[in-house]
C-alpha cells in the first residue's frame, strides 16, 4: 500500500488539523457528486477511495502508536495463551479473549458471566469487554480489581493507565485550544449568568423565553 501521507500530500509531521484540511481539499475535488459530468468519473472515484483510505490509515496509526507490534486488541498482544492448563476455566477464558480480539464484546461478556472463578485475568478480560461496550466506568473498577489480585502484572497496569488517561488527555487538548480557564471557577459568576441570559434571548431560544428550562 502506498504511503498515506503521500496520497494526501502532507508532511509526516503535519498536525492532525493540517491533515484534515488536506483531506477535505482532495475529497472536494474527487467526490462523486462533484464529478457527475466528468468523463473520467471512474478514475475520480478510485482516487476518492484512496484519499479516504489514506486518511483513515493516518488516523488509525496516530491513535494506536503501538499497533503492528503485537496485534490483538488495541495492540495489547495476546493473552498469555496455553500454559499447559487445559481445564474448563482457562478454555473459557481463552474463548472470551478471542471474542474480544475480534471485537465481539457482547459474546465475550456472555462467556465471562458463566465463569465462576474470578481471578485477575477474568477481571482483566471483563474490563476489556466492558471498555469495548462503552462501559468505561465499570471497566475501570474491573481493572482495579485485577490489579489488586495480581499487582505485578504490567498488562493490567497498562490498561488501567489507558482508561485513566482520558481525563488528562482531555484537559491537555482543552488547554491546547485555549480553553484552560473554561472549567475553573470563573471570577465573576454573575456576569456569566447575565451573559448566558442575554445570549439565550438574543438568539430566540424558546426555552429561554417561555418554557424556561433549564436556561
Amino acid at each position: 500500500m502506498s504511503d498515506p501521507y503521500q496520497v494526501l500530500g502532507v508532511d509526516r509531521n503535519a498536525s492532525m488539523d493540517d491533515i484534515k484540511k488536506a483531506y477535505r481539499k482532495l475529497s472536494r475535488v474527487y467526490h462523486p457528486d462533484a464529478n457527475i459530468n466528468n468523463p473520467n468519473k471512474a478514475e475520480a472515484e478510485e482516487k476518492f477511495k484512496k484519499v479516504q483510505e489514506a486518511y483513515q490509515q493516518i488516523v488509525y496509526e496516530r491513535e494506536h502508536p503501538y499497533a503492528g507490534t503485537g496485534g490483538g486488541f488495541g495492540g495489547f498482544g495476546g493473552f498469555g495463551t496455553a500454559q499447559g492448563e487445559d481445564d474448563q476455566e482457562s478454555v473459557e477464558l481463552r474463548a472470551a479473549a478471542n471474542y474480544i480480539n475480534n471485537r465481539h464484546f457482547k459474546e465475550a461478556m456472555h462467556v465471562l458471566e458463566h465463569i465462576s472463578v474470578k481471578n485477575g485475568q477474568w477481571y482483566y478480560l471483563h474490563a476489556l469487554a466492558n471498555a469495548g461496550l462503552g462501559n468505561n466506568l465499570t471497566a475501570e473498577e474491573d481493572v482495579k480489581k485485577a490489579m489488586q489480585l495480581e499487582p505485578d502484572n504490567w498488562q493490567y497496569r497498562q490498561l488501567y493507565q489507558m482508561l485513566q488517561g482520558g481525563g488528562n488527555w482531555y484537559e491537555a487538548m482543552g488547554n491546547g485550544y485555549g480553553f484552560g480557564g473554561g472549567r475553573g471557577v470563573q471570577t465573576n459568576c454573575c456576569w456569566d449568568i447575565i451573559l448566558m441570559n442575554i445570549f439565550c434571548n438574543c438568539c430566540c431560544n424558546p426555552y429561554g423565553c417561555f418554557v424556561c428550562r433549564p436556561c
Partner: protein
C-alpha cells in the same frame, strides 16, 4: 436533559458567535418550516450542535436565508440552512416529544404537556420518515423509564443508566451509513452518557429529598448524604462535614464527567471537520461545562460561602 451542549460565549470570537447564531436560527427556521411555528419548541442547543457538526463534516452546501424571527421581529437576520438541517430538526422533534411526554405522564409537569401537545403531529411524521431512529428512541427511553421506576436495582451502576441515553444519542448522531458512522456513533454515545450524568449530578440533592431514582445515590450517600442522618452530631459540625463530603462527591462526579467528555472528544478528533471547528471545539472542550459552573456558583452563592 436538554441544553447542556452549548457554547461558552466568553471564549468565542465575535465572528464565531455570529456564525453560531446563524446556525441556531437556521435550525429554528427549518423546524418551523417542517411543521408550523410551534415546532420551534423542539429546538435545543444539543440539536444545534449536531446540526453544525453534521453540516460541517459532510461539507454540505450552505444556503443563507434572510428572514424574520417571530420572537425578534424588528430586524431581519441571516440564517444558515443545509440538507442536514431537515434531518436534525426531525430528530429534535422526536427527542423533545418523547422525552417531554414522559415528563407529563409521570410527573404531571405542565411544560411537558405543552410541548408534547404542540409536537404530537410532527413527531408522528418524523417517526414515519425515520422509523429506525424512532424505534431506537422509543426503546431506550422505555428501558430508562423502567430502570427509573424500579428505583434502579442494586446492580445498576452508572454505566447502565447512562448507557441508555448514550445509545439513544448514538443512533441520532448517525446521519448516513458511511465511513463516519463509527466515530459519530461513539461521539453520540459518550455525549449521551455525559448529558445523563450531568443531569443526575445536578439533581442529586433534589432527588434524594424526594426519593427519586438517581444513579449517583449510593456514592452521594457514602460521601456526603450520610451526615444528614447523624442526629446526634452537633449542627455546625454536621454542616461542615457535609460540605467537605459534598466537595469530595463533586470532585468524584467531575472526574467521571470528564471521562465521558474525553471519550466523546477522542471520537470527534477522528472526524475530518474543518469548517467551524473552532465553534465545535469551544462547545466540546468548554461549553459543555458552562452549565456545570453555573450550578456550582449557584450552590456557593446560595450558601454565602466564599470560594477560594
Amino acid at each position: 436533559m436538554v441544553g447542556y451542549v452549548s457554547v461558552n460565549v466568553e471564549e468565542l470570537k465575535i465572528k464565531e458567535y455570529r456564525e453560531y447564531k446563524r446556525w441556531y436560527c437556521g435550525l429554528c427556521r427549518q423546524m418551523a418550516e417542517s411543521g408550523g411555528t410551534l415546532t420551534r419548541l423542539a429546538l435545543s442547543y444539543d440539536m444545534v450542535f449536531l446540526y453544525l457538526l453534521l453540516s460541517s463534516l459532510y461539507d454540505e452546501k450552505v444556503t443563507g436565508v434572510w428572514g424574520f424571527c417571530p420572537l425578534h421581529p424588528v430586524r431581519r437576520r441571516l440564517m444558515y440552512e443545509t440538507k442536514a438541517g431537515r434531518y436534525v430538526s426531525d430528530m429534535g422533534i422526536l427527542l423533545a416529544y418523547y422525552d417531554r411526554k414522559d415528563d407529563w405522564e409521570d410527573e404531571k409537569e405542565f411544560q411537558g404537556f405543552l410541548v408534547s401537545a404542540a409536537l404530537k403531529k410532527q413527531a408522528g411524521r418524523a417517526a414515519e420518515a425515520y422509523p429506525e431512529k424512532y424505534r431506537a428512541v422509543k426503546k431506550y427511553l422505555k428501558k430508562l423509564h423502567t430502570l427509573e421506576k424500579s428505583r434502579g436495582s442494586k446492580k445498576a451502576g452508572l454505566d447502565l443508566a447512562a448507557g441508555y441515553t448514550g445509545e439513544m444519542l448514538a443512533e441520532i448522531f448517525v446521519y448516513q451509513k458511511d465511513l463516519w458512522e463509527e466515530p459519530l456513533r461513539r461521539m453520540g454515545f459518550y455525549l449521551g452518557k455525559f448529558i445523563y450524568l450531568m443531569d443526575a449530578w445536578e439533581d442529586i440533592e433534589k432527588d434524594v429529598k424526594n426519593g427519586n431514582y438517581n444513579p449517583f445515590f449510593r456514592i452521594y450517600m457514602e460521601k456526603a448524604g450520610k451526615y444528614h442522618n447523624y442526629y446526634s452530631m452537633d449542627g455546625m459540625k454536621k454542616e461542615k462535614a457535609y460540605q467537605e463530603g459534598k466537595k469530595e462527591f463533586d470532585a468524584y462526579a467531575m472526574r467521571i464527567l470528564e471521562k465521558m467528555a474525553a471519550e466523546c472528544c477522542r471520537a470527534f478528533e477522528v472526524l475530518p471537520v474543518v469548517e467551524h471547528v473552532e465553534i465545535l471545539r469551544n462547545i466540546l472542550y468548554s461549553g459543555i461545562w458552562a452549565h456545570h459552573e453555573k450550578v456550582k456558583c449557584r450552590d456557593i452563592e446560595g450558601k454565602k460561602v466564599r470560594y477560594e
